[in-house]
Subunit: 116 residues, 2 copies
């Protein structure tokens, strides 16, 4: 819960990023974060157990797609859009647009009344 390791921008791997995005739950999570706002863990609702959700958030974090910040006992997740754009220019936008257009990653949504 403590050592949230985030890879440096220069170390982001394209294959790893694409692979991380190639899962419905994770793509749905990224879609939720697309507006750039930071979200509380508790706001994230996916059709999987919380341990599985934790796993997916870890995969996204390890791939450098999201950044996790801890505050007290709560966690906040945000998209590393600037870093991704710097390393893979133009990649994120069409992914998000296509995901939105085809409603990919459905089943993942914001929970009513969550922290932050």
């Amino acid at each position: 819960m403590r050592d949230a390791h985030h890879p440096h921008t220069r170390d982001l791997s394209l294959v790893e990023v694409l692979s991380a995005l190639g899962d419905p739950v994770r793509l749905g999570l990224v879609r939720l974060l697309a507006d750039g706002r930071e979200r509380g863990w508790g706001q994230l609702s996916a059709p999987v157990a919380k341990s599985t959700l934790s796993h997916h958030l870890r995969v996204l974090r390890d791939a450098g797609i999201t950044r996790t910040r801890q505050e007290g006992t709560r966690c906040y997740v945000a998209l590393r859009r600037a870093d991704l754009d710097a390393r893979f220019p133009g990649l994120l936008a069409p992914v998000l647009e296509s995901a939105e257009a085809h409603d990919a990653g459905a089943g993942v949504h914001l929970r009513e009344s969550g922290p932050l």
Copy 2:
């Protein structure tokens, strides 16, 4: 070898496409086809056995990323760029550019003197 099934453009799944691209060998193959030219199977050289290469080409084909054409006993592979652009506008270009920029999918290259 005969029934090369290609999904219709309208059925292409973003998750499936991203997942298919999230492998070094497959991304390397896509990079080779980036110039739009059709390539003969025999031209493709990857650091895997031919049965494995056949498998990867099948994954790409099933995801709708490539099109395979058979002519006699030979096969030719090409990128379905127009279809991908139609279904996922703007997605392919930055993927190819980033792959090129970071030399992703290395190990896959064109073989000297192959069919076509």
